[in-house]
């Protein structure tokens, strides 16, 4: 039973789907927070993620060149997060803030412009070609393989996948603590629910906006680093390719609902991988070339059936 069906399904579809889902989840958290609190769809979010990942790689490469120490990608992510947060705050200050009182569509256009500006800047600085993020093949974790083999359920999970899934759980727990138990987190939720009411109760909305960029920027960098760890390459188009699944995850979970976005990300990631499984006959149900289409299809169905998302988010 396991060797006929489970081995292939779990190792080659379910686990990669979960990993992809974790990456989408972290990306979608930032999208849903900015959508809920600043009230606009930030098209530059994917590029923020991509830039952060390039910064992480650069930091790692510089350290390697000067000291000869190979840093784990998760360590290089820390300075990269700082860089991405600064970038997000600068973009907000100079390109989004002037439109705070204008109709939201103006800032959507501005973010659409920022998407191309940031991507072009990265392409000018780092060049348009692929870069190897982590070298070498990550072999399946030996301990897990031997243990699961002994109970006849062999799992082939590389270490990077443990890092990604574990890291995502930690980040989501931290996010939960931030939003539910800290002052600034509660203020963020208040502004997301009703900005006017929040302002009347004395919440400084600009501070909340800055906090949103910090949280969104940091989770975006983590999503980007996880993605680069998984694919082991860096590309300037990685942000744009993530954009649609991240939006789909945010809409699926309900706009302004960070945990909805996490759930939505997992669903989209799993769906993208699982549709390629040969459910009927021996051919993939849907050709892997159409993976991105799955996220889009889920999003369109949600927009028709329930635009507020599963967890009753905001509709505009």
């Amino acid at each position: 039973m396991w060797m006929d069906f489970g081995f292939e399904f779990v190792n080659f579809y379910l686990v990669p789907g979960l990993v992809l889902g974790c990456i989408y989840a972290l990306g979608a958290v930032g999208i849903t927070l900015t959508f809920g609190i600043l009230r606009f769809a930030n098209f530059a979010h994917g590029e923020l993620m991509m830039t952060g990942t390039y910064l992480a790689w650069t930091f790692g490469a510089v350290v390697l060149a000067t000291t000869g120490v190979v840093l784990h990608p998760l360590i290089t992510a820390i300075p990269a997060m700082a860089g991405a947060v600064v970038l997000a705050l600068l973009i907000d200050r100079y390109f989004y803030k002037p439109f705070r009182d204008a109709p939201t569509i103006m800032v959507v256009i501005a973010s659409f412009g920022m998407m191309l500006i940031v991507r072009s800047a990265v392409q000018v600085i780092w060049g348009p070609n692929q870069i190897a993020f982590v070298r070498g093949i990550d072999k399946p974790n030996a301990a897990v393989r031997e243990f699961t083999q002994s109970i006849d359920m062999m799992l082939l999970i590389p270490n990077k996948h443990f890092w990604i899934i574990g890291g995502t759980i930690v980040i989501v727990l931290l996010l939960h603590y931030l939003l539910e138990h800290t002052r600034i987190g509660k203020a963020m939720r208040a502004v997301s629910d009703s900005p006017d009411l929040a302002r009347v109760t004395g919440i400084n909305v600009e501070v909340v906006v800055r906090a949103t960029w910090i949280v969104g920027g940091m989770s975006a960098v983590m999503a980007g680093v996880f993605l680069a760890m998984d694919t082991q390459t860096l590309e300037t188009t990685m942000g744009f390719r993530m954009l649609l699944p991240m939006f789909a995850a945010a809409i699926l979970g309900g706009i302004g609902r960070p945990f909805g976005a996490v759930f939505g990300g997992l669903v989209i990631g799993l769906a993208e991988e699982l549709v390629a499984y040969p459910w009927i006959g021996t051919e993939p149900l849907i050709s892997p070339g159409y993976k991105t289409g799955v996220a889009f299809a889920i999003m369109v169905v949600m927009l028709i059936v329930r635009p507020s998302g599963i967890f009753k988010g905001r509709t505009f």
Binding site: I105, I109, M114, L116, I117, A121, L243, F247
Partner: protein, 364 residues
């Protein structure tokens, strides 16, 4: 004399490509300028038009579905219809939601269209694309056209062969450019008529105050879908012209969202959204800048190599294009913040006299 001809042909190609972009900006103006619909999937609609035209008009080929060898005009009409149909489907689903959702949906549909074009290799020849797309005027000098009606009615095959051999190689270029300019003019006249008609004024009312328009008994959703389809039809038409202009189309490079969608947005916003003249001006102006800056950058790089022979300009060459994109993005941001009305601000047909009222910002 040679160089004069070279300049002339350069101007012709500027007018041709600029005209196609002006058409795209006009199409976007019908969606954004008239109705406040935020479409960032322009590349998708252009691709649909281009591929429809290409598949219907090319000669029979084993590489892709058809070539059906239909008359060029039939290909153009079909391009408009397919693009409009796709817009109708998206419109019905997304238009009742806020503009952000339409933006996400249109950027998504553009990607899906690209995926289909890339993956359905039986129909579209996949990433390698379709070539030898017949171009208006120039197509007369291809054998399959001059050996058939109506040209075969005037002269026989050897007669036409001799005739086209006697013409200079660029003979079709002025005619092609003029045809495109004529198309721009006709679309402009139609859109101006639409804008000044009760339909156009209703669109403005809906855009500026949706609730008031709804209260006045206007079918807001229906009108918006109409404007969305109208714009997409124009984009599909421009796509057919673009595939003629390029003669070789492929899903990834030709329909790059940065060079299609984004550039058209810059054109409309710089020219003046809501103003058809502004859309045309923006189209030609930004295209000229875009194309001239390429020459300028290449010239500068060549200059460097002539003076510093050891300089490695490979990196400069590959990255100059991205720098151009960055600069045009900054132009958009500056215009958006300083002068969101554009060069030619919108003027209201309903206003008494010819005072151009401040049109306000659209959307929401």
């Amino acid at each position: 004399m040679e160089s004069l001809l070279g300049y002339m042909l350069y101007v012709m190609s500027l007018l041709t490509a600029g005209g196609i972009y002006a058409l795209l900006a006009l199409g976007l103006n019908a969606q954004w300028g008239f109705a406040g619909l935020f479409n960032v999937g322009i590349a998708g609609f252009v691709a649909i038009g281009a591929y429809t035209y290409a598949l219907l008009t090319t000669a029979v080929s084993p590489l892709h579905l058809g070539g059906f060898e239909l008359p060029l005009i039939a290909g153009m009409i079909a391009a408009m219809i397919t693009s409009g149909l796709v817009a109708a489907i998206i419109g019905v689903i997304c238009i009742r939601l806020r503009s952000d959702y339409l933006a996400i949906a249109t950027i998504g549909i553009a990607e899906i269209i690209k995926l289909v074009l890339k993956n359905e290799t039986e129909i579209t020849n996949g990433p390698r694309g379709i070539n030898k797309i017949p171009r208006v005027w120039e197509h007369f000098s291809e054998e399959r056209f001059y050996s058939s009606w109506p040209l075969s009615w005037i002269s026989d095959v050897p007669g036409w062969e001799a005739f086209f051999a006697a013409l200079p190689r660029w003979w079709w270029q002025p005619f092609f450019a003029l045809t495109i300019l004529l198309c721009v003019y006709v679309v402009y006249l139609l859109l101006e008529r639409a804008r000044k008609s009760p339909w156009g004024r209703m669109m403005t009312a809906i855009r500026e105050n949706e609730h008031a328009a709804r209260a006045a008994g206007k079918d807001v959703t229906g009108r918006r879908i109409e404007a969305f389809i109208l714009g997409a039809v124009i984009m599909g038409f421009a796509g057919a012209l673009l595939s003629m202009h390029l003669r070789l189309i492929d899903p990834t490079n030709t329909f790059d969202p940065a060079k299609m969608t984004f550039l058209v947005w810059v054109m409309l916003i710089v020219g003046g959204s809501g103003n058809n003249k502004g859309a045309i001006l923006g189209g030609f102006l930004i295209w000229t800048l875009w194309s001239a800056s390429e020459l300028l950058i290449n010239g500068t790089i060549n200059l460097i190599t002539t003076y510093i022979e050891t300089a490695d300009v490979g990196i400069l060459r590959t990255r100059a294009g991205f720098l151009r994109m960055l600069l045009i993005g900054l132009v958009l941001q500056v215009i958006l913040q300083r002068n969101p009305q554009g060069i030619l601000p919108e003027s209201r047909p309903a206003a008494t006299g010819n005072t151009s009222h401040k049109a306000g910002v659209k959307g929401d």
